[in-house]
């Protein structure tokens, strides 16, 4: 596939370079490690700090979400690969304001090991760390094993709520609890239409027929639960919603935030057509949409497809989801 890149070995480096140069008022690269980025506006002393991270290629996630109301720092991995412990540790040291740091990341073997190692090292430096893993992808393990599920677009809500809580002065444990509660109340399902390709290999990430879609696809192109014949937007949306409803305790009168997330190359036009159906189905069920997000929030390079995420809200998380955010790639008033 065609890419606007220079040396394929340097894509992540050069992306970060461009990023910090484009948004110096938001973001700073640490001298200690060039994969370690922190907010240019440090938090007040005594407030809990939020650290996010994961592989590259998911932009706006993860580096795009550093700023007021979301994360204080990010560790940036290679494409689709967890960052190593070193940048995580450096970010941790830089953003800790004496109140501890919450690590938020997706449930992937690599991230679990690298963030885990970094947390051990941080504790050796007397920094308290809480870790919360997003595991919102219904397709990735049965309901009984929710903690085995991977994190996909629903991670966005985990950052959103935890970031707001930290901003509002919640304590370490409380911020982590908000993140856990959000993850518990969040479900996502994705569909893939066209593959992406890693700059280094140029090979399509998966094979798929001209009239096929991959239901339950992961956001690194990991195969989903089944291939099916591509159908109308409404029917595809229904196929994504159904397992979410089967999995989730959600009833008439409940309120949710909705995220219809594009995987990279699917136009907003199609995302809004999907949203239209989500709204129809939810309103038929008497479930109220409190807030909606439609766009590219966690992508997979130029992959084609989308995911739908529902997160059930209560009075506390409604306040948190409304909390303003100001980052280079996501601003909410």
């Amino acid at each position: 596939m065609k890419k606007l890149i220079n040396d394929k070995k340097n894509v992540v480096e050069e992306m970060i370079d461009g990023y910090v140069k484009a948004h110096p008022e938001y973001i700073k690269r640490l001298e200690e490690n060039d994969r370690a980025l922190v907010s240019a506006k440090p938090k007040e002393e005594g407030k809990v700090a939020i650290l996010i991270g994961g592989g590259s290629g998911h932009e706006p996630a993860f580096m795009g979400y550093v700023g007021d109301g979301m994360a204080d720092g990010v560790a940036v991995g290679n494409i689709f690969a967890s960052p190593p412990p070193a940048p995580i540790l450096e970010v941790t040291k830089a953003i800790d304001k004496g109140a501890g740091v919450v690590y938020l990341y997706g449930n992937y073997a690599g991230d679990v090991m690298n963030f885990g190692m970094a947390a051990e090292m941080a504790e050796m430096e007397d920094i308290e760390v809480e870790m919360v893993l997003a595991s919102d992808d219904v397709a990735s393990a049965p309901k009984e094993e929710k903690d085995k599920r991977r994190g996909i677009a629903g991670e966005f809500f985990v950052y959103k709520m935890a970031g707001a809580a930290a901003d509002l002065g919640y304590k370490l444990k409380e911020v982590a609890d908000i993140a856990r509660k959000t993850n518990d109340n969040t479900r996502s399902m994705g569909v893939g239409l066209t593959p992406c390709s890693l700059p280094q290999t140029g090979e399509p990430s998966f094979e798929i027929g001209d009239d096929e879609m991959e239901i339950g696809l992961g956001h690194h192109g990991e195969p989903g639960i089944r291939k099916a014949t591509l159908d109308t937007a409404d029917k595809v949306t229904d196929q994504l919603l159904q397992p979410i409803f089967e999995d989730m305790e959600i009833n008439e009168g409940d309120e949710v935030a909705v995220l219809v997330n594009g995987l990279g190359s699917t136009p907003r036009m199609e995302l809004y057509i999907m949203f239209r159906r989500v709204e129809q189905v939810l309103s038929e069920k008497g479930i109220k949409i409190y807030r909606s997000y439609v766009g590219d929030y966690i992508t997979s390079l130029e992959m084609g497809g989308a995911s739908i995420t529902l997160t059930k809200l209560d009075d506390e998380t409604k306040k948190l989801v409304d909390h303003p955010v100001n980052t280079p790639m996501f601003v909410q008033k």
Binding site: N78, F80, A81, S82, P84, M113, D137, T201
Partner: protein, 212 residues
């Protein structure tokens, strides 16, 4: 037999070459089961290692230091799943032979035993989970059972056992890591990590034989 620090460095350089040669194959395997980057990751990591081998480590005479540095370098270059796994292996191996400028048969056995135990502790995978442990645990068992003063014959059986383990992953349903989400669909493809682990062991055997 004895492996000097210089030779150990040369072994790691062989791994660098093998990974470069096999990276597309490793990516192909990972595309079937995961996110398609295992060869890329291995290549990035071993290229970073190669810089150290030709740079800071070129004159290093402590085998333990060499191996730990290889581990740390690999880890910091790649992160990912295999970063912590292989890094822990090389660091634990390094710890086992700390301070030694030459490794004899017993050192070599201790090195690889520590290596495999390290990987296992880091990743907590068991035989049958469809990971690199399907190569490494049978290898460890064969090494321990067959080691009797001489490293090469014992390691030869370790590599053989590892190869059988590696091949067995094709028919396994994955239970851990990215590919576990595939369920039954993970059957039919050999695990990329099991494959790269076998390459690492096999390369050492070939190297040791030449230098014996």
């Amino acid at each position: 037999m004895n492996i000097t620090a210089k030779e150990l460095i040369n072994y790691f350089k062989e791994v660098v070459d093998i990974v470069e040669k096999e990276k597309d194959y490793l990516c192909d395997l990972d595309r079937k089961l995961g996110d398609g980057d295992h060869g890329v990751t291995m290549s990035i990591g071993w290229q970073a290692v190669n810089e150290q081998l030709n740079g800071k480590l070129a004159e290093e005479s402590d085998c333990g230091k060499i191996s730990s540095t290889v581990g740390m370098t690999f880890l910091n270059a790649v992160g990912s799943s295999v970063g912590p796994l292989y890094a822990t292996g090389f660091m634990r191996g390094g710890k086992a032979v700390k301070g030694k400028s030459e490794l004899n048969d017993v050192d070599l056995a201790a090195y690889w035993i520590a290596f495999i135990n390290g990987v296992q502790e880091r990743g907590n995978a068991k035989v049958g989970d469809k990971t690199m442990m399907d190569t490494l645990i049978p290898a460890l068992e064969a090494l321990v059972v067959n080691f009797d003063r001489e490293f090469i014959p014992a390691f030869e059986s370790a590599v053989e056992a590892g190869e059988i383990g590696m091949k067995s992953t094709t028919d396994l349903v994955s239970k851990i890591g990215r590919s576990s989400r595939l369920g039954e669909r993970s059957k039919g493809a050999q695990d990329p990590g099991a494959t790269s682990a076998h390459m690492i062991l096999k390369a050492f055997l070939d190297f040791a034989k030449v230098h014996a």
